[in-house]
Structures are given as structure tokens and as C-alpha cells.
């Protein structure tokens, strides 16, 4: 009886002590995972830090890629890219799947131009992008992709921690989506490795390296950054693209 009371007392004081220790670690250190061995927490609502506006063709509004913004295509995919540009130059949207309310898919999902909400647990991360009402999930529990999993717009993502960096691998993507606003094509062999980390307590960075043995001659890397929103600005809205279809002429 006495022993049990003592150990309960010890437990209580140990918990209190632990509480004090955790409280003593500055909030910033807790966020970046330093000091207490915890993983950084990416949970929150994030707004993209947009790169400088790319020039566009005035007549058709086709975006013009800057240096390094295109992968090195294989000859077959360069031909495909040129065809897409020629089509867009006429003002056609046949090569623009999001214009027909289809999901952007990965990696364009991470463009998240209207905001990105991240919910993180120990075993899973969910990412919701207001743009096109899109959702992706990243498994952190060590599972492997089931053998019969259907290819999808956002693919199948698994992640592991390397210190404070979350390394995410995404495979099993559909081949017909565009990589970005330039309409860059890729095959269903596209594989994405992301390195996601907090470069500052409220700045999240995602470095995406893409390989595609069918479409690219070498790996292609993009860096995206996001700023954590303040409480007053942390709500996302619906962006149900299909709603417009009932009004379309």
C-alpha cells in the first residue's frame, strides 16, 4: 500500500517535472523538433509563397517557362510538349485537364495556390489543397503500397523521417496529368521524392525531385515554399470546380 502510494507520488512528480521541462523548451525549438526528440509538426494552414510571376503570351495567356522550369524531355516527350504549346497557342483547352475540372494531381497539387491545410499524426499526414478541393495522404507507419493499388492522380505516398526532414516517396501516378501550369507532360513511370522541412518556424519548404525514365533524360527538381497563416486567416473554402459545369454554355 505504502509502496504503491509512493510510486504514484513519484509518477505524479515525474509528470510534473516533465511538464516543466517541456514548458521550458521555447516554442520554436518544439516546432522544429529540437530538444525533446519529437518530430517537427507541419500541421497548420499554409499559403504558397509565389515565385515571381512568369511572363505569358498576351494573346492566349499561355505561360512561358523560365530557365530551369522545364524538365529535360526525351525526344518523344519534347515532341509532346511542343504539341501542347501549339494547341494552347490557339486558345484551346484540350491539353488543360484542370480546365475541365479534373484534379491537378501530383506534383502540381503542391502548387496549392489557394492554401494548403496539413494535419499530421504520428502515422499519417493529410494535405488538403483549396485549389480544386484536392486531398492527398502520406503514410508514415512503414507500410508498403499494396500490390494491386490503382494508379491515381496523387499517387501513393509513403514517408520517413531523416532528422527534421520528412522524406516522401510518391509512385503509382496516372500518366495523363500535367506537371505544372506549362502543361509539361510525364509518363506513368513518374516517381517523386520530396524533402519537406521547416526552414523557419513558420516557413515550410518542399524540395521535389522527379524522375521519369520514359519522359525525362535526367532528374528534375523544384522547390516550393509556404508561409504559415495567422489565426485570422486560417480557414479554407470549398472550390468545387464541377459546380461551374451546370452553368457552362
Amino acid at each position: 500500500m505504502t509502496t504503491r502510494t509512493t510510486s504514484r507520488l513519484q509518477l505524479v512528480s515525474l509528470t510534473a517535472l516533465l511538464g516543466l521541462v517541456i514548458t521550458a523548451i521555447p516554442a520554436e525549438a518544439r516546432q522544429s523538433g529540437e530538444g525533446n526528440g519529437a518530430r517537427p509538426d507541419f500541421s497548420g494552414v499554409w499559403r504558397t509563397i509565389n515565385p515571381p510571376a512568369a511572363p505569358r503570351v498576351n494573346t492566349t495567356l499561355r505561360w512561358l517557362p523560365g530557365p530551369g522550369e522545364l524538365p529535360d524531355f526525351t525526344p518523344a516527350y519534347k515532341q509532346r510538349y511542343d504539341k501542347i504549346q501549339a494547341s494552347r497557342e490557339t486558345g484551346s483547352e484540350e491539353t488543360e485537364s484542370v480546365a475541365r475540372c479534373l484534379p491537378p494531381g501530383m506534383p502540381w497539387f503542391m502548387g496549392a495556390q489557394y492554401g494548403l491545410e496539413i494535419l499530421q499524426t504520428r502515422d499519417k499526414i493529410g494535405m488538403f489543397s483549396e485549389w480544386m478541393d484536392a486531398y492527398r495522404r502520406i503514410y508514415l507507419d512503414g507500410r508498403k503500397m499494396p500490390a494491386d493499388f490503382d494508379p491515381s492522380y496523387n499517387g501513393y505516398s509513403t514517408g520517413r523521417w531523416e532528422g527534421d526532414t520528412l522524406v516522401v516517396e510518391t509512385v503509382n501516378l496516372r500518366g495523363e496529368t500535367e506537371l505544372d501550369r506549362y502543361g509539361s507532360p510525364h509518363s506513368d513511370q513518374l516517381r517523386i521524392v520530396e524533402r519537406i522541412r521547416l526552414v523557419e518556424p513558420n516557413i515550410l519548404e518542399d524540395v521535389l525531385t522527379m524522375t521519369d525514365p520514359v519522359a525525362f533524360t535526367k532528374p528534375w527538381t523544384q522547390t516550393r515554399r509556404y508561409r504559415r497563416t495567422t489565426k485570422e486567416n486560417d480557414e479554407l473554402h470549398e472550390n468545387t470546380c464541377a459546380e461551374g459545369l451546370r452553368l457552362a454554355k
Binding site: 499559403r47 494573346t59 495567356l61 480546365a99 495556390q113
Partner: protein
């Protein structure tokens, strides 16, 4: 004055962002801006883009209905718009990029109420 110009520029940039959803924006004339002054017929607060219907005189001075397309409701809300920011009958002045095909309509750039106040403020947008 300079601040005012920057504000307008910011609105243009943020409104131009939703260029992907639902259709390409090649239908609008990006080399032209015109101002439509008339009265609100209806504000369709719908995804993926809002539509503001305005009764105003056309190029020949004949009263016509202009279909003005804006951004997403969510993004416009962050810029100070809302589904009841204007009501049918309200006087309004709207700067648009007109439709290339000559129909009465275009892409919303900025709007002012009859009393001169800007709708959506000084471009306080998403980022």
C-alpha cells in the same frame, strides 16, 4: 497616388491567379481594358468562378447585359468580397478585360460601388 496604383496592381495579380479552373482564360482580350458602368442585375456566387451580371450601355449606347467573370468565391472572400457585397439594382462601375468574340462580358479586374468605394479593398489577397 502611387499606393493606389500598387493596390490596383495587386488586385489584378490576385484576380488573375485562378486562370486554370474550369476553362482557359484565352477568351479574354489581354490587351484591352474597358470600364462598364451600370447597375447590378445579379451576383452569381459560384465555384469555380463568380459571375457578376451588370446592365449597362454597350459600345453603341444600347442597354445590354454584361456577364463579368471573376475568381473563386474563396479567394475573393479573402480579398473582401462576399456573396452579398452588392445587391440587384446597386450602381456599379467595373473594369474588365472584354471577351474577344465581341459578346458583352469579360474578366473582372476591379469594381467600385456607386459611391466610389472599391469592392475588395486595396488588394489584400491570399498570400
Amino acid at each position: 497616388m502611387r499606393m493606389k496604383f500598387l493596390g490596383v496592381a495587386a488586385v489584378v495579380v490576385t484576380l488573375a491567379v485562378p486562370a486554370f479552373a474550369h476553362h482557359s482564360f484565352a477568351m479574354f482580350d489581354y490587351n484591352k481594358e474597358i470600364t462598364i458602368t451600370g447597375s447590378v442585375k445579379e451576383l452569381q456566387w459560384t465555384n469555380p468562378h463568380i459571375h457578376l451580371l451588370v446592365n449597362a450601355p454597350d459600345a453603341k449606347g444600347v442597354m445590354a447585359e454584361f456577364d463579368i467573370e471573376g475568381g473563386t468565391p474563396g479567394n475573393l472572400r479573402r480579398q473582401g468580397w462576399s456573396r452579398d457585397v452588392v445587391k440587384p439594382g446597386d450602381k456599379i462601375s467595373v473594369v474588365i478585360r472584354p471577351l474577344k468574340n465581341g459578346d458583352n462580358g469579360g474578366q473582372l479586374i476591379s469594381a467600385k460601388k456607386g459611391d466610389g468605394t472599391a469592392i475588395g479593398g486595396q488588394g489584400g489577397g491570399g498570400e
